[in-house]
């Protein structure tokens, strides 16, 4: 309630309402609703396989939901025409969990591509902008390497550089700092905060790492098996009385199976 009051004067950049999604017959997200306000870092936290990346895909309008609505920058992305999505996407940057750099292009070409497609800058300027962003993610001097020559962490950082090269209003990052060494991971977290403070970027980050989430989040949600457990500021999530949230926060493993019969059934596949 308190958060709503504080944020009521800020505009909502992403609004998901009662989102239900399936892959085939399997329900992946179940009645997910959330709001991301302008100028905040919003973190989607949850265990592996809880549906974080899936939620991101729907916000990016890569899939069509079973039901529910998704508004991004004031546009209903489910019912948008391709030309409207095109305009919308020029204002967003995305870094995928695996990086998703184009393997046929060098790192530099990868980062320049959005500029080439959406601006009329000359090549020299674009190259300078690309180097600038590589510098920011700590990858200066790697622009001539091919993605296959990079490590996993370098791929992620290059992908982040590509995501912010257009200075988007809205940045989405899927696990941008997971799997990196602690120093680089901390640097990425710092970078995300700097993007928010210096450029006023609104950032949506997916992560399963607690420390990182608590460090960067203005507000966060915790996702578990496709359901939202809590929404709120870091403090509110920390103090949540939800048992499952506390379990996730304190890294406790699941309770011992109470129903031995069900357990046996699962094992034997009956």
């Amino acid at each position: 309630m308190g958060v709503e009051a504080v944020n009521s004067d800020r505009s909502v950049l992403v609004e998901v309402e009662h989102l239900v999604t399936h892959y085939g017959a399997r329900k992946i997200l179940d009645d997910v609703s959330l709001k991301v306000y302008e100028g905040e870092v919003f973190v989607i936290m949850g265990g592996s396989g809880s549906g974080k990346s899936t939620l991101l895909r729907y916000m990016l309008a890569l899939e069509r939901p079973t039901s529910g609505s998704i508004r991004v920058l004031g546009r209903d992305v489910v019912r948008s025409r391709p030309s409207e999505l095109y305009e919308l996407r020029k204002k967003m940057g995305v870094s995928f969990q695996s990086g998703a750099l184009f393997s046929s292009m060098s790192v530099g070409e990868n980062i320049i591509l959005p500029l080439k497609e959406h601006t009329d800058l000359d090549l020299k300027t674009m190259e300078i902008m690309a180097r600038l962003k590589l510098e920011v993610v700590g990858m200066a001097g790697f622009e001539n390497l091919m993605p296959s020559e990079l490590s996993g962490g370098m791929l992620k950082r290059a992908a982040l550089a590509r995501a912010v090269v257009m200075d988007p209003k809205l940045l989405f990052g899927d696990e941008p700092s997971s799997g990196l060494d602690p120093i680089v991971a901390a640097a990425i977290d710092e970078l995300i905060l700097r993007l928010r403070d210096a450029l006023g970027m609104t950032v949506v980050i997916v992560t399963h790492q607690l420390e990182s989430a608590f460090k960067i989040a203005d507000r966060m949600v915790v996702l578990d098996s496709g359901k939202l457990l809590v929404t709120g500021t870091v403090e509110e999530v920390r103090n949540s009385s939800n048992e499952r949230v506390q379990q996730l926060l304190n890294r406790r493993v699941d309770e011992v199976e109470l129903d031995p019969e069900a357990y046996l059934k699962r094992l034997t596949g009956a």
Partner: protein, 278 residues
Amino acid sequence: MPAEGGQQALNGAARRALDAVERTGRACVDSISAFGYGAALFAESFFWIFRGRSIRQPVRLTMIFEEMMQIGIVAIPIVTVLSLTIGVMLAIQGIYTLSLFGAESRVTIGIALSVTREFSPLITGILVAGRSGSALAARLGTMSINQEIDALRVMGINPVRFLVVPPLVAMMVMLPALSFLSDLVALFGAGVYVSLDLGMSLPAYSDRVIEVLTVNDLLHGLGKSMIFAVLITLVAVVNGAGVTGGAEGVGRVTTRSVVQSIAAIVITDMLFVFVVTR
């Protein structure tokens, strides 16, 4: 108890039959939807070619040239070798067959028509399907698995404009061009053999060829090449984009794409010939 057993066996057979029906039905639906998808891709490609520039999302000429290089120019040596071989082979077979009637000297007409109308477009089509169609399917499959296609989409870059149109255009230009090259080389190869075997001079041979060939025969072959180009590209794209199951899946769709495009080429060839020739 026995009655129950019989019942179960019947159920088993019925279920298997039902499963088979379901599988067949699903395969039919899948292939129809793949067909529709291919047609939609073709239509969308034309949208980007003709309207892309006006909405500031042009098809890049440099990408088309790069594809033309890969599909056409790099394939010139192998097309030359194969065409030369086929020309000589046709000459040998033609002379042998006609010698049964003592009509060896009429061999030029058979060679000229079969090369331009059939062998050149078919051979270059099959070759390009194996070389470039498979490469395209593998590339799109890999990109799809690496989420590179999603990355393009969220950047506001239409994957059809960026990934499908360049190879499609390049293929539609280069396959007829290769086919024409193949015409020339195969006719030359046949000519050399004929002149050696029948003592017909090369100029006399080429005069005969030019005399019997009509523009129509040439266009018949080149027109087919153009259709094959579209088939190869669309089969590769539909397969590559529909990949599932990781790196192994890429291998599977690549093989499937080659098999399907060669089948499509041969069947379309037969239909085309049937419609146009009769």
